[in-house]
Symmetry: C2
Subunit: 311 residues, 2 copies
């Protein structure tokens, strides 16, 4: 099988570090390097802490490697912005594959600003997609907005849940339930499996009328390699479905991505313009003196910030 990967892993790792550390420069870089890679299957794996996502990722890597496919993995770790380091935790398990020349694994920490992880992760994923891996896996811990943003880049999103979550399934962000293309009940040997399956099915039924793809539910015990081949079958079915029906899905995802990128890039400019104009300082002092309030400040903003598109 031909290896389509455009870079050696050392160069790839260097490029990723550049993207993480130099956000402005990363755009220049990706303007040249980005290319669509329709042959790449992009799998997102997400779910709450403790669901066993890393074990599952490990098994999926092994399955693809057995087929001779190259695999790139981006694991998004929350980490202290103070230490700057990623917390490894159970990610160490994935080191089984660390000496495999067909597997490239990268952990990303959230170093830096709140909510700032998604844009960098998306850039790294776009780079790795352009690099030409057969399979690209992005694993995120958590169920928040930035996970939803990151998952927008995946063709197929696995939402990994575990029995015993009880009512908490309902408390998961509605958005995260909606982006699931395949539900995985991991640790399916535990009590509470039936209840979880029933809750998932209820959610699927409720949304059925608006779903082009009805997400299947797969039970696994990743640590014992149970249910994995079933899961791989569902992933293949999803890929086939995407080939036949996926143009609109891809277009919608890309549109979302454009919107996110646009707001991300323009937002920083707007804040800088307001800051230079001393607006924030004035608004705060007007608020503290009782002369104005945030809503009047926003009205002033809308009336005075001129935005125009054109050469």
């Amino acid at each position: 099988m031909e290896n389509r990967i455009a870079f050696d892993f050392r160069s790839l790792a260097k490029l990723i570090t550049k993207i993480e550390n130099d956000r402005a420069g990363s755009e220049e870089l990706l303007m040249d390097l980005y290319k669509e890679s329709p042959e790449t299957t992009v799998i997102g794996i997400t779910g709450p802490p403790g669901a066993g996502k890393s074990s599952l990722t490990d098994r999926i890597i092994a399955e693809y490697r057995a087929l001779g496919k190259t695999v790139g993995v981006v694991a998004v770790d929350p980490s202290s912005p103070f230490t700057g380091g990623a917390i490894l935790g159970d990610r160490i398990r994935m080191c089984d594959h660390s000496t495999d020349p067909g597997v490239f694994i990268r952990s990303m920490g959230s170093r830096g600003s709140l909510g700032g992880l998604a844009p960098a992760t998306i850039d790294v994923l776009n780079l790795m997609k352009s690099a030409g891996f057969d399979v690209l896996i992005v694993e995120t811990v958590g169920v928040g907005q930035s996970e939803i943003d990151v998952m927008s880049i995946a063709d197929t999103v696995l939402l990994v849940l575990v029995p015993g979550m009880g009512d908490d399934v309902q408390a998961l962000k509605a958005g995260i339930m909606e982006i699931a293309d395949i539900f995985v009940i991991n640790k399916a040997d535990k009590d509470g499996k039936e209840r979880l399956a029933a809750e998932i099915n209820m959610i699927i039924q409720l949304n059925r009328h608006r779903l082009a793809w009805e997400p299947p539910v797969v039970e696994t015990v990743a640590t014992e390699n149970k249910g994995i081949s079933m899961l791989m079958d569902r992933i293949s079915e999803r890929s086939v479905w995407l080939k036949n029906n996926g143009v609109q899905v891809k277009r919608d995802k890309m549109l979302n991505q454009f919107k996110h990128m646009a707001l991300d890039r323009i937002g920083a400019n707007i804040l800088a313009i307001l800051n230079e104009g001393g607006m924030f300082t004035r608004w705060i002092s007007e608020l503290e003196s009782g002369k104005s309030n945030p809503y009047r400040a926003m009205k002033e903003l809308i009336e005075n910030l001129k935005i125009k598109w054109g050469k």
Copy 2:
């Protein structure tokens, strides 16, 4: 004790519905109604699903009511955007207070767009702050970015955790750990309390040098009313500290709020301008034909979107 609340609850409920349903109109409304209310204590209660936040909220309401203080509560429920309804779950417990004329409780669902909950919640909180409750409590389920955004409005944020979370404490969003002013170990009669306390203390120690307020750790069993008076003492200490040191804290929070509001309001305008100009359609077709890529599209965006501040 004088009741400072400016509206009867029926009018307040109507205003909140207006804010939820008419985002544009809500700004007009709040331009007039918003006022700073330095006497109002705003308490944020957040943490992962199943931590017992509602029971804790219930106890805190009872404590303030025993002191004759009026309490407003905003409970943010994730809910299906399809049904539009809030999932009540254990929120029903708070109905103990539903007939109390000194307590106003409002649940908010996430109906509608992804990530769209925070702006509406912040507007509702600002309205309730302006209404003059002695105490305002906002309870959010989850640990994502929108919870962090909502909590930016609270003077004192309780992060509620439970024993047995193990390593998952580290997997919580770094941001959520940073906004905690008081750590609450609820269900403290469960195994694993020492380990959780040790992990929390490690996080506090790591960040100690940069913290003006060192967050205390309180153990509670909310369902048995244990540890609640200790928690109330810590909340009082925080209030006293804020009176003496809080000007900069409040200023920073307000600055953040201004920035969020500004990006929220301007972002929609920018997307509309790009949409009207047919930019998204063109970018998608250029991407699909391989003529361009998202990063070149963003370069075009930056070069052609003119933003100017001025009368």
